[in-house]
Subunit: 156 residues, 2 copies
DNA sequence: CGTATTGCTGAACAGATTGCCCAGCCGAAA
DNA sequence: TTTCGGCTGGGCAATCTGTTCAGCAATACG
């Protein structure tokens, strides 16, 4: 579960050049191919590397507007609300949280006007008491993992 | 920029079996290899598919705690705060938003206790007036894109 | 102090895939 | 009607993958 420096470099390489093969990696890292292969297998069965799915940009798909909605749920309706939100394609992510809200979800929409439709669909459900939405203007730090990987690899 | 049904199926296939090759995809989809290759190239240069970087699980790296922090920034300090937050590895994502807060960021930490350290580091910066943090308990809908891709592909 | 275990190396092999090229076909647009 | 873009089906050399093997060093263990 802890990763060492070599694991870190493997992940870094993959992040920078995803199409790179095991053989080329072993050349760059100066280790045997079998080693890289074994490390990769281990990282994947460990769950450190979940997969290599394509990263799809919602904006390029026609959904340039992102928003975060904080939802307050009526007691005991949590499961229903989760199931409801899971059916809305524009809900990209849903968390239950501590704090003033009960859930936090990430939404996308085709436009600010379309966001209204999405929100209506999200909150148009019985268990949701209140929703407060924050529209994303800029994304100075896109979802990233590299710095954390580097830190985890160094701490070994 | 709009994707058709074939594009959608390509993305779906890639999402389900990321290690699949172009040749195998063409077999499954019943089209020529060149077609799949051309579609893939187009999707990538379009920016619809950003890449195939490894999806790393912070929890497996030893950071099982996720939180969202809403930050209020002192007027005119936005750029400095952004630069500051970008240097914190535990900040996985940062958005500037409309609404009561000014920024929303996703944090991870090694434990609830460690989260305190992370938050101290995040807010220990001059331009940040106030921070309110929500710890994630459950993640009923992990970051996903498939339903949106399906919707976008059907609307053609 | 021996001994088993684990991880890495370097190598080999057949089989599959990739990148690239081409000619032909077809539907849509000009 | 002509042109153009997209898809097909094929072929080629080069490369990579999956897998296996023996040797070696460091480590853990009895």
């Amino acid at each position: 579960m802890a990763i060492d420096h070599l694991d870190g470099r493997i992940i870094l390489l993959l992040a920078r050049e995803p199409r790179i093969g095991v053989l080329e990696m072993s050349r760059r890292l100066g280790v045997a191919r079998g080693t890289v292969q074994a490390r990769l297998d281990r990282l994947q069965s460990n769950g450190v590397i979940r997969g290599f799915g394509p990263e799809v940009d919602p904006a390029a798909l026609g959904y340039p507007v992102t928003a975060f909605a904080t939802l307050q749920i009526r007691q005991g309706q949590g499961a229903d609300v989760r199931a409801h939100l899971a059916t809305v394609p524009e809900v990209l992510e849903l968390h239950t949280t501590t704090g003033s809200g009960d859930m936090l979800c990430r939404l996308v929409a085709r436009s600010n006007a379309d966001l209204q439709r999405v929100i209506d669909r999200v909150v148009g459900f019985d268990g949701i008491v209140r929703a407060s939405t924050a529209i994303v203007m800029e994304n100075p730090v896109p979802l990233r993992i590299i710095p954390l990987v580097e830190q985890a690899a160094e701490e070994t």
